[in-house]
Symmetry: C2
């Protein structure tokens, strides 16, 4: 089976990119879109983010065989409740939220009896809103699908095909494991970047204008991810609390060891740590998840 009518709820960076990618895929999929914000719907119409942009969530999902919720993590339950009365009984409901356990529970709760197969495309930029999306966002990026126990295998397979048709590589895993993996690879890096940018702007002995001026020494790379959407990230930390705290504490232990090495002048310990980390970078580049070029190959994507 494959999905013929796809409804996208939430037309920001991710929802808009899905719509644009479907328009370009040549498979003739029909798309409808809805966003709670009338100004977003206006922009979505202008950019053609879906074939039809509806002013009512029910109109968007009626007749759809795949509904994808692309709203902030904290708005998933409300968005699901709003479409519940109009969903086709055998449609698949999926989402793109950055954490999976609490969303799975919220959707199961709000949509009893429906086939819920959560997903998370590991692709994004620091921009959000209806003007941020682009059709190649998912190219060569992973999408993690977290089918609950008992999910219909044919429908899971259809969702895998769907993401592959958008250019993504797909992996399936359990929701709890997803939340741990993403805590390490995404949530902790964002938390640290937000914190250090905050620390640097409040220093007593170093002015904010000095921080800005000399940011090319490393700091500026943190400011990019610390410019990500505050609503999205607040929701991620509210919803993936346990895994984030677990990973944060491991990081804090390692940072205390580094602090002690600096205090004690232990050059060997530092040298060893700093040498090991280069290998990871090489593997990431080799796997096509980053690029050795100075622009990380980002110019290919936008």
């Amino acid at each position: 089976m494959s999905f013929r009518r796809v409804a996208i709820i939430g037309l920001g960076l991710i929802g808009g990119s899905i719509g644009l990618a479907l328009r370009d895929d040549g498979l003739g999929t029909t798309t409808t879109g809805y966003d709670a914000d009338p100004a977003v719907r206006t922009r979505a119409r202008a950019r053609g983010l879906a074939d039809t942009i509806c002013d009512d969530p029910g109109d968007a999902v009626r007749g759809a065989d795949l509904v994808i919720l692309c709203v902030p993590v904290g708005a998933m339950r409300e968005a699901a409740a709003a479409i519940a009365p109009d969903l086709s009984p055998d449609c698949v409901v999926s989402d793109v939220g950055s954490s999976k356990r609490t969303i799975t529970d919220a959707l199961t709760d709000a949509l009893p009896g429906f086939e819920i197969i959560p997903a998370h495309p590991v692709a994004g930029t620091e921009h959000s809103g209806p003007d941020a999306g682009f059709s190649t966002l998912f190219n060569q990026r992973w999408c993690i699908i977290t089918p609950p126990p008992g999910a219909n295998p044919a429908k899971v397979a259809a969702l895998v095909d769907f993401w592959e048709s958008l250019g993504a590589m797909v992996e399936t895993m359990d929701a709890d494991h997803h939340d741990r993996v993403l805590a390490v690879t995404s949530h902790i890096p964002h938390l640290i970047a937000y914190t250090i940018v905050g620390t640097a702007s409040d220093m007593e002995t170093v002015t904010r204008s000095e921080v800005i001026k000399y940011s090319a020494g490393g700091f500026r790379d943190f400011t990019r991810i610390a410019a990500s959407d505050p609503t999205m990230w607040r929701d991620v930390f509210l919803h993936n609390k346990d895994a984030v705290l677990e990973m944060l504490d491991t990081f804090l232990t390692d940072l205390a060891l580094m602090r002690e090495a600096i205090r004690a002048g232990d050059g060997q310990m530092m040298y060893d740590t700093f040498s090991r980390t280069r290998a990871i970078r090489r593997s990431i580049v080799a796997l096509g998840q980053d690029d050795p070029r100075p622009d990380f190959g980002r110019s290919d994507h936008k």
Copy 2:
């Protein structure tokens, strides 16, 4: 006054970039170069990093009116001692080291009676060695000059002109203040990046291959600076210990507050912090120290 003969000691990323920039500046400056490593000298000759590459440090500095030490921070004293017997009495000795207090002390000690005017171009990449340099590295980047009390004003002015002729914008400040500013804008970001990449590679519940696969969620941006040269960074942390520990402790206090906000589910505190940090990014972009394009404008530089 301006410098007619410039000797570059250490022909890696920074020394090589200085040599290439001088070749292109059209001012007719003569350059000599020396590196302790014969293999580096061979590559330096092949790339033309200086007009003459010498096999002996004394030959390189004899007759030079500006000598720039471009070796790792921990090798500055030894490199200075090796050239001491052959320096012209009225030459200026400068350097490019990433920390300034301990280097100033080491150079003053090794070269009594010479005019020592330390400097630090805040520009770099994660690559090192004689093949890493390029002539536009310092374009639109800041160079901080830290003249000791009693430095000859005409010679300080000549060093300012020198860096401006390489494309840099110049600021002067006290060595101790430099070390605090760079601790915030460069040393702590590198320390954190090295630590988080280390933490992520040693997780028990998440495999290394998962970390690599899903790195596009934020982690990969840390791996680039954590791939920087281990020798250089060991030396930075050995030599800028006090300022790094001071700034690290401020960061740790802020991170503990964020941890508590996550634990308590304090969404408002997170939202406020995450919103404030966007303004800093905008200022950095507005000041030309980063670029809103997906490649940060790096393609302009290399």
